[in-house]
């Protein structure tokens, strides 16, 4: 199976505080990799490394290599092009202070797409994939920030899909979304899996069980275990900590 992302010896620290210790693993192409682990285990940091937004944290330092399609991302000159190849959904819904339409069309426009008809088509497709189209199709020109929390979260998913990424990183996307809509989006993710690689960071272990092909368990910046989801959620994962965490007897 082809590796989409290869992470080797990744170390990140914020000042003196280590966030990731020598983490190495691969992400296969067209898989959903579930990343689970308690708070402060370095899940979000991992995603920030992949799309190189860690560079905005002044005190962060990084060691090790991350390769996307075999190319070390720190050597990529066009960092904006790199970020367009990676869709990112952040845990708190951030509606950009633009209309719903402009929110979704932001990235394609930044990349240079100007054709109105193409943009219209793209916006509609992305909003439908994020299960938001039916609710907002009559008011695409209202402010994105005026939507409810759950709608804004789906708007960020539509936005992340708008630049047709190769890798989609979802950082606890279902925090503000009701279970029924979550299920709809999960179905969408399953179909998207054919087109892209998905990294799913989640606090809901059941969600990782439902969706992920493989699951990685992070604890205090260490990669405890990465294996196929069936093994992680079975009675016999390699580490006891994994068993305790997924079964809720942790700590």
């Amino acid at each position: 199976m082809k590796n989409k992302i290869e992470i080797s010896g990744l170390e990140v620290s914020y000042g003196d505080k280590p966030a990731l210790n020598r983490v190495s693993f691969d992400v296969h192409e067209n898989e959903i990799l579930g990343i689970i682990g308690p708070a402060q285990s370095g899940k979000t940091t991992l995603l920030k490394v992949i799309n190189r937004t860690l560079e905005f944290v002044p005190e962060a330092s990084m060691d090790g290599t991350v390769k996307l399609d075999g190319v070390d991302i720190s050597t990529i000159g066009d960092v904006y092009g790199l970020r367009r190849r990676i869709g990112m959904v952040l845990p708190l819904p951030v509606g950009l202070p633009l209309s719903i339409y402009d929110n979704v069309a932001f990235a394609p426009r930044a990349a240079g797409l100007r054709s109105k008809s193409q943009l219209d088509e793209l916006v509609e497709r992305c909003l439908q994939q994020a299960a938001l189209w039916d609710e907002v199709k009559d008011r695409l020109d209202t402010l994105g920030t005026k939507l409810s929390g759950g709608q804004q979260q789906r708007l960020t998913i539509a936005r992340a899909l708008s630049h047709e990424p190769e890798v989609l990183c979802l950082d606890e996307f279902s925090i503000a979304i009701d279970p029924v809509t979550t299920m709809r989006i999960e179905d969408v993710l399953k179909t998207l899996q054919k087109e892209m690689t998905i990294l799913l960071v989640t606090n809901l272990v059941q969600q990782a069980k439902r969706l992920a092909t493989r699951t990685a368990f992070l604890l205090n910046g260490d990669l405890v275990e990465i294996d196929s989801t069936d093994v992680i959620f079975s009675d016999k994962p390699t580490h006891q900590a994994t068993y305790d965490y997924v079964n809720g007897t942790f700590g």
Binding site: F56, R83, L90, P97, F106, A110, A111, T156, A160
Partner: protein, 276 residues
């Protein structure tokens, strides 16, 4: 917006209009008196002649303030967006600005008289000191208008830059800092460049606050300007009537503008809430 807030806004607006009216009456009186007095002194005086010194003062003040505000905004953008927080230049400039913007405006007036005005001798040495003309014939209003080649003009420029820039830089920096980090991060994650993030996200969000800061800087500076003008007139005029007329004129103009700009600040502040 709830009902009580509507009423509050309404009342505040009415108070502003009433204050403007109160300012307007002495201005009108002075204009009328000046007109009558000057018709005797000078031969061909129209209301335009009376207004011109006032407009001249305001013109100088406003254009300089405008330039200083633009420069201050540019400076704040550089400090906030391009220099890291730990940079020593940024820390030095921010500290100096914090001190300067905390100085009450009356001290700027004293600074203007104490340092700039009495050092006009230095300006004279380098050949920019003017010789007041027609000091004997009593056409005071004509005499004391703000000429672009007088040292007072340069003094006003220096004082205005000193007064307007720190406040503008401070408020602009605060405005840029108030744009939440998640918004920037979200835009960066979509592949936008630094400039695109600034142009599409940060500037629209911070714009009203930047304008409010500019207005605040201006309304503070106007009060001091009145003092400078007063000193100028006292120094170059022998006619006491001209002093008071001119002073009242400018003071009213300054008051008018500072009320106007504080209304603008209120407007901008409420406009900047629409995204939150």
């Amino acid at each position: 917006m709830i009902c009580a807030e509507r009423i509050q806004t309404f009342v505040l607006q009415r108070i502003t209009f009433i204050l403007l009216g109160i300012v307007g009456i002495p201005v009108w009186n002075v204009l009328q008196k000046a007109d009558a007095a000057d018709t005797e002194a000078a031969s061909a005086l129209t209301p335009l002649n009376t207004l011109s010194p006032l407009l001249n003062d305001l013109y100088a003040v406003l254009s300089i303030s405008f330039l200083a505000i633009l420069f201050g905004i540019a400076c704040a953008f550089y400090l906030q967006e391009w220099l890291p927080e730990t940079n020593w230049i940024r820390r030095l400039v921010e500290n100096v600005i914090a001190i300067l913007s905390g100085v009450p405006s009356i001290f700027y007036g004293i600074l203007a008289t104490g340092i700039f005005f009495y050092s006009a001798g230095i300006l004279k040495a380098i050949g920019v000191f003017p010789v007041p003309q027609n000091i004997e014939d009593g056409s005071a209003l004509e005499l004391i208008s703000f000429q672009n080649d007088t040292p007072v003009f340069y003094i006003a420029v220096l004082v205005f830059i000193l007064m307007v820039m720190p406040i503008t830089i401070q408020t602009t920096q605060a405005a840029l800092g108030s744009v939440a980090t998640p918004i920037r991060e979200a835009a960066y994650a979509l592949g936008a460049s630094h400039w695109q993030v600034l142009r599409r996200q940060v500037i629209p969000l911070a714009f009203t606050r930047i304008l409010a800061g500019g207005c605040r800087a201006m309304s503070g500076a106007l009060a001091t300007a009145a003092l400078i003008i007063g000193i100028y007139i006292w120094r170059y005029t022998t006619d006491p009537g001209a002093f008071s007329n001119r002073f009242v004129l400018f003071l009213s103009g300054a008051l008018f503008l500072s009320i106007f700009s504080s209304t603008l600040i209120k407007l901008y502040a409420s406009a900047s809430d629409r995204f939150n």
